[in-house]
Symmetry: C2
Subunit: 208 residues, 2 copies
């Protein structure tokens, strides 16, 4: 049995109501002040978990609204992931390209990595010209930029020239400062606590 | 046309290969050292965007693996969201309960909020006893705890007593220190840059 709510005291009730009424006024004014609608350039970076995961959460939200979306994975190879399997139920709305060859320390071959990134970028650049795509996820593009596998200026130009209402999510650690400058929304995922440090392994359904 | 990869210099090629070989050795040793498999208590907190979104990304990953999952939304009311609409395609795997009455500043009624949270908690507690659920998302539970709408000790006891392989994701700002202590994985979503500050409004397919 749960304890009785503190709210049974009428004075506290009134204080709560007044506080929340003030909060609502601030909130409503804030909402009313925002009028711009535009395609957002969103960056998920930082050392914590959740960068790619949150990008696929956004994808889910978009397809739930019946919008078309594209995904290009720059680093990850063709291994099968839970999110890939799940999004097969949305093949009518999602175009998915896994173009990487695996992590750079797996291939150990810079030329091969660069070639894979260039191929992925060609697919991504084509998506950034299509106004039927409401959302484009460029997964781990930050890694490709960080290792100079792709020319930053060309990537930034293509992002800037995309259709006005197209949303783009770029993921990966160590986002380039110029990309952060260009972005509308940057979330830094900080690893406050990570189970790998406690000896827990990567598990199906959580990490992949 | 993209510039020729820097990797055409054989010396640089060799250095890259050696560096990545060292990195791979470290990486492989790290992976080998992690042997524990367990249900994770995951907390997404912080002021940035992506807390709930990343939780639904994890849900997508889990259902992609054919696992069953449950969702309880403690604060959000019954308004329709993109993720809710999308996950209807997984009604065979996902049980979804939106139990809130809206944000606390919308209801302005503490007793009503507490009652809604208690009702939501009863559903959540039942999920935390079921070993057929691989993942349970407790969306905005942190808010309910922060306002003392639920007794923290009872919530922590139920989390600790859940099936050993069940993963739980708790979202919301201002996670309680005791919850962070109990968690296996805590990601703090930091708002490095937010488009609301630039006058951009909440848009369908991105915010909801």
């Amino acid at each position: 049995m749960l304890p009785v709510a503190e709210g049974s005291d009428p004075d506290e009730e009134r204080r709560h109501r007044e506080k929340m009424a003030r909060r609502k006024a601030v909130q409503d004014a804030e909402v009313a002040s925002k009028r711009i609608e535009k395609g957002l350039l969103i960056v998920h970076t930082g050392p914590g978990k959740g960068k790619t995961t949150a990008a696929f959460g956004l994808l889910l939200r978009a397809v739930g609204r019946g919008r078309r979306a594209g995904v290009v994975q720059f680093i990850k190879g063709a291994w099968d992931t839970g999110e890939r399997a799940a999004l097969r139920r949305f093949d009518d709305l999602v175009e998915w390209h896994t173009m990487g060859e695996g992590f750079t320390w797996e291939t150990q071959d810079r030329v091969r990595d660069v070639t894979a990134c260039e191929r992925a970028w060609a697919v991504a650049a084509a998506m950034l010209r299509r106004d039927d795509l409401s959302l484009v996820v460029l997964d781990e593009l930050n890694i490709a930029l960080r290792y100079n596998y792709l020319p930053e200026d060309e990537v930034l130009r293509a992002l800037a020239a995309r259709p006005a209402m197209q949303h783009v999510v770029v993921t990966g650690r160590n986002a380039r400062p110029a990309l952060v400058d260009a972005a509308d929304l940057v979330t830094e995922m900080g690893a406050t606590k990570h189970h790998f440090a406690a000896g827990v392994r990567a598990q199906e359904g959580i990490e992949f």
